[in-house]
């Protein structure tokens, strides 16, 4: 037991729930419009928006080059597929 039975959040001890996954989400840079609809729906808060790499920007359609793209944290992603199902432009696919 810890002192005073107070337990503090410690990410070192966090179960890596990514182990549960049998399908993982992948984003298609040529489709993602950076709307971040998927972000709050992710049960594990695994999705962060980040800047596009030069390679990704090249693939992106003209109007969205400045927009961010989704980035997954595979340490905690359980592979439920909610992000893929809520994506309005079907930019996320679940792959084995």
């Amino acid at each position: 037991m810890e002192e005073g039975a107070v337990i503090k959040n410690d990410m070192e001890k966090a179960p890596r729930t990514g182990d549960w996954r049998y399908m993982h989400p992948e984003v298609d840079a040529s489709k993602c419009i950076g709307c971040s609809t998927c972000v709050p729906f992710c049960p594990d808060a695994c999705i962060e928006m980040r800047k596009r790499t030069a390679e990704e920007t090249e693939k992106t359609p003209e109007n969205f080059k400045e927009k961010e793209i989704v980035d997954f944290d595979y340490d905690f992603c359980k592979g439920c597929g909610v992000c893929a199902s809520v994506c309005p432009v079907k930019a996320i696919t679940m792959r084995k």
Binding site: E2, I7, K8, N9, D10, M11, K13, A14, P15, R16, T17, W20, R21, V39, P40, F41, C42, P43, D44, A45, C46, I47, E48, D73, D75, F76, K78, G79, C80, G81, V82, A84, S85, V86, M94
Partner: protein, 301 residues
């Protein structure tokens, strides 16, 4: 891990893949920048976020039994008052209770009623997944009519739950609560707006949030948002709020989809599509229509 979303509830909890409860918690707690203290009745949220030696909570968190979440937060509120008076703290924290439908509709109802009546300053959030999901899906007062559950399974003699669900919103409203609202996990913007409003109000407030359960409602893990959306579009789950006794409808579908569209997405209603159970679907449709009509009349009052 998304930094902003995990300010109060971190990743690494073990809710089922595709569970909407964390989205509800993060949205409600994200609606305020002030410090919060959370009390949590026993239920899915509690068992999955606090597996020893890890806790996903980054805010002060008290777990208590099924029946006394609201009583515990009453004590926290009273303690805050006296500490403030003695000058030991400078500012009150916002108090939030999370309870499932088992801990709110059934077992925790008396302590909730007591806390509402005494008028403590807290927000009670009930995530309603319509049953005791973490123990395998036994029926609760929130389980909808006709659903097959562990304790009321559908079979030759039975079509599942034979009783209508409890109208908890009316029960809470009868306490003269200043603000209460019904929301759905599929519409997080609406939920955030309601949480913000509720947290700003002094005195007890209440939110009832629909939470489609992938395990026991039996649908694919990726579908909780779309099942919740169908619940709204069929008018099974209208979004409304009651402020000082005044009803406001936030969303009902003027051209509702037939209730079958919602029922057919879930394994727990599969048996209703047999010809001998047609009357059950008709009954559900009738209740849904009557409920919307009742709300519309309430708004006119």
């Amino acid at each position: 891990m998304n930094k902003k979303l995990t300010e109060k509830l971190a990743s690494g909890h073990s809710t089922c893949a595709g569970c909407g409860i964390p989205a509800i918690v993060r949205t409600v707690l994200g609606a305020t920048d002030e410090p919060v203290i959370v009390a949590n009745a026993t239920g899915c949220l509690e068992v999955t976020t606090t597996i020893y030696p890890y806790t996903a909570w980054k805010v002060p968190y008290i777990h208590n039994a099924f029946e006394n979440a609201a009583a515990t937060i009453s004590g926290v509120e009273a303690a805050q008052k006296i500490l403030l008076k003695k000058g030991k703290i400078q500012k009150k924290a916002k108090l939030v209770v999370f309870g499932g439908d088992g801990g709110t509709y059934d077992i925790g109802l008396q302590s909730l009623s007591g806390a509402l009546e005494r008028g403590h300053d807290f927000l009670y959030v009930c995530y309603d997944n319509g049953g005791y999901m973490n123990t395998g899906g036994q029926r609760s007062g929130a389980t909808p009519y006709g659903a097959s559950t562990e304790t009321e399974p559908a079979g030759e003699q039975s079509f599942g739950k034979a009783k209508q669900r409890k109208d908890l919103m009316e029960i809470v409203a009868a306490h003269g609560v200043k603000y209460l609202a019904q929301a759905c996990v599929s519409n997080l913007r609406d939920l955030e707006k309601k949480a913000k409003k509720a947290l700003e109000i002094e005195g007890p407030t209440f939110l009832l949030v629909l939470q489609p359960c992938t395990q026991v409602w039996k649908f694919p893990t990726s579908q909780y948002v779309s099942v919740g959306k169908l619940a709204m579009e069929t008018n099974f789950w209208p979004l409304y709020e009651i402020e000082d006794g005044k009803y406001t409808i936030n969303y009902t579908n003027p051209n509702p989809k037939p209730i079958e569209r919602f029922l057919e997405t879930q394994g727990r209603f599969k048996h209703l599509f047999k010809p001998e159970n047609k009357h059950v679907i008709e009954e559900i449709q009738k209740t849904v229509d009557a409920n919307v009509e009742r709300l519309v009349n309430k708004v006119k009052e």
